[in-house]
């Protein structure tokens, strides 16, 4: 009778911030006792569940009527202040604008 050999892998990911580090094993077995080896170059699906990393959006206007939008009169002296707590963050400030025709 032919020996049937199987190789399967199990892995887990540990996240720090948005970065996941993989730790896993490969399990091989045939008719004998399974043996475990280090995970190496195995195709695996990874699903990460969390919050969108490093992105916040602040709507001011009603999405239908646009009531509440910041007008040029409001904006004449308008500012945003960010309190920094760590170096090395890549920062971008974005605005959603309405351009008249």
């Amino acid at each position: 009778m032919a020996t049937v050999a199987r190789v399967a892998s199990q892995a887990m990911g540990v996240a720090v911030g948005n970065k996941v580090t993989v730790t896993g094993i490969t399990i091989s077995w045939s008719d004998s006792t399974p043996t475990a080896g280090s995970l190496s170059a195995k195709q695996m699906g990874m699903r990460v569940i969390g919050d969108i990393h490093g992105f916040l959006r602040f709507p001011f206007a009603d999405p239908e009527t646009l009531e509440g939008a910041l007008t040029p009169n409001d904006l004449a002296t308008a500012q945003i202040k960010l309190t920094q707590g760590g170096s090395g963050g890549v920062l971008a400030l974005l605005c959603e604008e309405v351009f008249g025709y």
């Binding site: 695996m44 699903r47 959006r57 001011f60 206007a61 920062l91 400030l93 959603e96 604008e97 351009f99």
Partner: protein
């Protein structure tokens, strides 16, 4: 509401250069509600470790009359912006599979309040020239010929347009732009004036450092006027993040890895609740 047409302006056109500023002039007339941009890149024979395909897209821009940037935003921020605004991401494929693996992502530039908005949109006839620009650098995915296949960066453009016979008279159009970029310092306040020329419907703050928890590099955000004698918004990053992410329909992101123990992978999610890994290649001999 008129039924929108989907006009394919270009379909998976491979670019000769692996690093370039792609420019495409849009037609001289037409009323667009939105423009979809799809980009793809094929992996080569060596596994790409911890690279982000979104980093390839340095900027996506919509430039009117040569120097009027109505959209100007990085690929990472454009992807996240759509996700945060609509609760779900545009389609994507993140894969490390060698040779046959193709990374792909879609972006949507929205010119109205919603698809099919007859009040706001891009009326091409209002401008002498409207150009889509994609500033891309495939070497962000590694070495040409080793990690990605040279000459496989391809672009698709699809316009969501009103039928010619039912073109609306738009009052205006919407856009999203960067107005400040930089790198955070270890401490201190960073104060920036807001752009003043147009109505602003929303603001967004992007602050990313791989492997660092949200709310670390920027801890507090305040928006107001008259030297903050009038405050519109004031609070902690972690509070805003909790409130905004609670409203998302999709809070997961999927990857196909070629995994080895101790590999790292930077994702587009933080405050990670779970990481689920599934073997996709069980071998039976």
């Amino acid at each position: 509401m008129a039924r929108l047409e989907q006009a394919i302006i270009m379909s998976r056109e491979a670019q000769v250069a692996d690093t370039a500023l792609f420019r495409k002039d849009l037609p001289k007339s037409g009323c667009y509600s939105a423009l979809d941009i799809g980009v793809r890149l094929t992996n080569a024979g060596t596994v790409v470790e911890d690279k982000d395909f979104l980093a390839v897209i340095k900027h996506v821009s919509l430039v009117c009359n040569g120097n009027d940037y109505r959209v100007h935003i990085s690929g990472k921020d454009l992807f996240k912006h759509y996700w945060m605004k609509h609760g779900r991401p545009m389609p994507y494929t993140w894969t490390e599979v060698v040779t046959s693996g193709v990374n792909e992502v879609w972006f949507r530039l929205e010119f109205g309040r919603f698809l099919g908005d007859s009040q706001f949109g891009l009326d091409l006839s209002r401008f002498n020239n409207v150009q889509v620009q994609i500033d891309y650098d495939c070497t962000k995915m590694g070495t040409a010929g080793t990690h990605f296949t040279t000459g496989t960066f391809s672009i698709t453009l699809i316009a969501h347009q009103f039928p010619h016979a039912k073109r609306p008279a738009f009052r205006g159009m919407m856009g999203v732009r960067e107005f400040y970029t930089g790198t955070t310092a270890a401490s201190g306040d960073l104060v920036q004036d807001l752009p003043t020329a147009n109505l602003i419907t929303a603001l967004a703050v992007s602050c990313v450092e791989d492997g660092v928890a949200d709310g670390t590099d920027i801890t507090d955000i305040r928006i107001g006027k008259n030297s903050f004698s009038e405050i519109w918004l004031d609070g902690k990053w972690y509070t805003f993040a909790a409130m905004q992410n609670a409203g998302l329909d999709v809070r997961e992101e999927d990857f196909t890895l070629v995994a080895t123990t101790a590999d790292a992978k930077s994702t587009h999610l933080g405050n990670v609740d779970q990481v689920i890994m599934v073997d996709e290649a069980i071998t039976i001999t």
